[in-house]
């Protein structure tokens, strides 16, 4: 009893001490640059202006291209459902350059390949030149392996880490002045939601943390997904820091939220941008075997603290950011937000977060209601033909 009371008191203290930062919310109904660029510019102004953050700096932007580029939800283009939309990426790059960013590096660890990101985008039916041409100083790097670096960069988790004390990552995550997480607003089968923090799960190179990672040293090229982190069925390559406690739970619903917090603590996010203009319900990608739908919430959320930004985005989705394990969207997993708050990364308490622009109520799109309806329905047969 005493222990439980002490834990509660400790959690409250952590919540009160966790940093906060303003979050901007905007209605944005289309990907038309004529609407998108001014909307994003205004949002960044509401956060104090981009120039203050990026002028003269190297900016690294982690985008979200989860899953294979050859996998669509039905016939829908990937950018409408689960990839960060290329117009949003281009608009962000354009505005960063306009605000004086010296160099803009677009980063992702794409599915099971060391191919250049540009080639990956072509397979998704995108035109990479549209993004590279958004500003004069834009470039891509595939961070799923060593890439153009000479060695991996070790980033340490300041609070010691839940699962990992430090990570060996592609150099791009260390060789930058400003780090941005630019993601899609989605639910997630393992972590409940995938917003600015969960996007950082993809920082980990599969050459070290993936199915085909080398045992002693990183493999040259990435193979498969991140089962090392999901299931904990093996340790990362021995050249990288191992887990703190190999006897800790092996359930992905325990491990993934904690590893995400370790990552955002090791690689602090200076600007979090959540794009929910169009997206999907039911999970992070079309491979999740539940009923999924294209939806158009027409909303964007951005903030200077990833926990606070995700908290506001969760509220926009109709979820309670204070929810704990057992409560939607965390019915069967731990809350990344709660863990991050307890680690001192940021607050999820809406009462402590200043929201600029549109109110949450104005732009709310009720993923939570769709989720309740979906979970109440009998499971659908797999595939159209059952």
């Amino acid at each position: 009893m005493w222990n439980a009371a002490a834990a509660l008191a400790g959690a409250s203290l952590a919540r009160a001490a966790a940093p906060t930062a303003p979050v901007s919310v905007a209605r944005c109904k289309t990907y038309d640059p004529a609407e998108l660029v001014p909307t994003m510019r205004k949002m960044f102004d509401q956060l104090g202006g981009l120039g203050r953050l990026v002028k003269g700096k190297t900016v690294a932007i982690k985008i979200n291209l989860t899953g294979s580029p050859t996998y669509r939800l039905g016939y829908l283009p990937l950018e409408d459902t689960h990839y960060t939309h290329p117009h949003v990426i281009a608009a962000a790059a354009h505005l960063m350059a306009e605000a004086g960013a010296r160099r803009i590096r677009l980063l992702e660890s794409p599915w099971a390949t060391a191919d250049p990101i540009e080639e990956y985008l072509l397979r998704a039916n995108w035109e990479p030149r549209d993004i590279l041409g958004a500003a004069p100083n834009v470039e891509f790097e595939n961070t799923n392996y060593l890439g153009s670096g000479k060695k991996y960069s070790r980033l340490t988790v300041p609070f010691g880490g839940y699962v990992f004390p430090a990570f060996d990552l592609n150099h791009s995550y260390a060789d930058c002045d400003v780090f941005v997480s630019l993601t899609k607003m989605k639910e997630h089968a393992t972590a409940g939601i995938t917003l600015a923090m969960k996007n950082c799960f993809g920082l980990t190179p599969c050459t070290i943390y993936g199915t085909g990672a080398g045992i002693d040293e990183p493999s040259e090229t990435p193979h498969g997904g991140r089962t090392t982190v999901h299931a904990g069925d093996r340790q990362p390559s021995k050249s990288a820091p191992p887990e703190k406690d190999p006897r800790s739970p092996r359930q992905d619903t325990w491990r993934v939220p904690r590893t995400v917090v370790d990552l955002v603590a090791a690689r602090p996010v200076h600007l979090a941008i959540v794009e929910g203009i169009k997206t999907m319900t039911g999970g992070e990608g079309p491979w999740i075997p539940v009923e999924q739908k294209l939806v158009a919430p027409g909303v964007m959320v951005a903030g200077l603290n990833p926990v606070s930004t995700d908290a506001v985005a969760m509220a926009v989705m109709g979820f309670d950011p204070m929810a704990d394990r057992g409560t939607p969207p965390f019915e069967r997993c731990d809350s990344t937000l709660k863990l991050a708050e307890e680690a001192g990364v940021g607050t999820r308490d809406l009462k402590r977060i200043e929201v600029a622009g549109a109110s949450i109520a104005e732009v709310k799109f009720d993923f939570a209601a769709i989720r309740r309806q979906r979970r109440a329905a009998p499971p659908r047969p797999f595939g159209i033909r059952g």
């Binding site: 050859t70 669509r72 016939y75 250049p116 080639e119 072509l122």
Partner: protein
């Protein structure tokens, strides 16, 4: 390339000539019948019935035999799942590249694929459809070869066996009804230049195999027959041989590069003109700019055809993909254009146990109309399609394992 006949390997167990009645109304018009005395009645009646007859291992004049694999997704032993290549993609066995190689080496011949099912295999109707289509799509013909179980059940007149036979025969009939297609010219992104024999046989043929597995569309260019026309419309040429090219061939390929193409070659190619490119994007290749094009010389030589195949695709760029698939599962494609240039045909093959539910395919090129055909339903199927910049995107409804798209240019 021609395909005048639809061949079938007559099951040795079918000694009763009345089994020939099964062929009535089908496209099968050439039987490969064993030489045993117990089949002499079958041979006689087949010949009397107007069927062409040949012996195993003795194809008629004008036919090249390719010893092939049973096409499909390679399954692991002991009932395991589908095998996968080093990138994790399903490992598909297809005879397409071998058919095109035989056609390149023997352009006046028909190509038959000899790929019988394993002795104890149980083959589904869908798998037979793939076997027929995997050869015919590339202009060849699979020698229809029944598994023992199907042959026995057909002899016993079992209805499920007859249903499988009907589907197989329909697939063979579909391609026989499109006799002009084998003469259509293949579309390609890269040309593979080799003698394809001797010390170059393994590397060059494995390269063709692996390029096909990675979805690249190739033009096969035997060294002896290359003209200026051979390289037209290609983005790149891969010189796959250990020995350097003859001066005339070298000159021709370098002219192709200067006009904007790319050459990928081993160091044995010899000295390369042009200016070095400092960061060529792939440390395994030394890059040089030459005219409007580039030369990539593999630093380590012809070390690994898998790496060569996959690296070449990235060096050439997916920008020039002829075909892109979404939600297709393990798929392959072969694109051709009619001699008059007014129509293209894209053959789409889906190697899983059934076709996809909601696949999308993007075909490079500008087209005015698209029609889809399946072997089960030779009438055109309506498909949704939309033009894109330099391509069309087609949304396929639930389809079987083979679809032909006719595209009006």
């Amino acid at each position: 390339m021609t395909a005048p006949w639809t061949p079938m390997r007559w099951p040795d167990a079918w000694k009763d000539p009345r089994m020939l009645d099964l062929l009535k109304g089908t496209a099968i018009d050439h039987l490969v019948i064993g030489m045993g005395a117990e089949l002499s009645a079958v041979r006689s009646r087949a010949a009397q019935g107007g069927l062409h007859v040949s012996a195993p291992g003795a194809p008629p004049v004008g036919v090249e035999i390719v010893k092939g694999e049973w096409p499909g997704v390679k399954m692991e032993r002991a009932g395991g799942g589908a095998g996968a290549g080093p990138t994790g993609n399903p490992w598909v066995d297809s005879n397409g590249w071998a058919i095109r190689l035989a056609a390149a080496l023997h352009p006046e011949s028909a190509v038959w694929v000899d790929a019988a099912p394993a002795g104890n295999a149980f083959i589904t109707a869908g798998s037979y459809l793939i076997a027929v289509a995997d050869s015919a799509a590339y202009g060849g013909r699979w020698i229809v070869s029944l598994d023992n179980s199907l042959a026995t059940s057909l002899a016993a007149g079992k209805s499920d066996a007859l249903a499988t036979w009907k589907r197989l025969a329909a697939a063979a009939g579909f391609f026989a009804a499109h006799k002009a297609w084998p003469a259509y010219a293949p579309m390609a992104v890269v040309g593979v230049v080799s003698g394809f024999t001797g010390e170059n046989e393994f590397f060059s043929q494995e390269l063709l195999n692996l390029l096909a597995r990675a979805g690249q569309h190739c033009r096969i260019l035997p060294k002896g027959g290359i003209t200026d026309a051979s390289l037209v419309s290609l983005r790149a040429a891969i010189y796959a041989d250990a020995d350097p090219p003859a001066p005339a061939l070298r000159k021709r390929i370098l002219a192709f590069v200067e006009a904007g193409g790319m050459l990928i070659a081993p160091p044995t190619w010899g000295e390369v003109p042009g200016t070095p490119i400092r960061d060529g994007g792939n440390p395994r290749y030394s890059m040089r700019a030459l005219g409007k094009g580039k030369v990539a010389v593999a630093v380590a030589g012809r070390d690994d055809p898998y790496l060569w195949a996959n690296e070449s695709i990235v060096m050439v760029s997916h920008r020039y993909d002829l075909v892109r698939f979404w939600n297709s599962g393990a798929a392959g494609s072969f694109c051709t254009v009619a001699p008059d240039g007014r129509q293209a045909v894209a053959h789409l093959l889906f190697y899983a146990y059934r076709g996809p539910d909601s696949a999308t395919v993007r075909i490079a090129g500008v087209y005015r109309a698209v029609r889809a055909y399946t072997a089960d339903n030779p009438a055109a199927t309506k498909v949704e399609w939309a033009p894109q910049t330099g391509a069309v995107e087609i949304h396929l409804p639930p389809v079987p394992q083979y679809v032909a798209l006719e595209l009006d240019i």
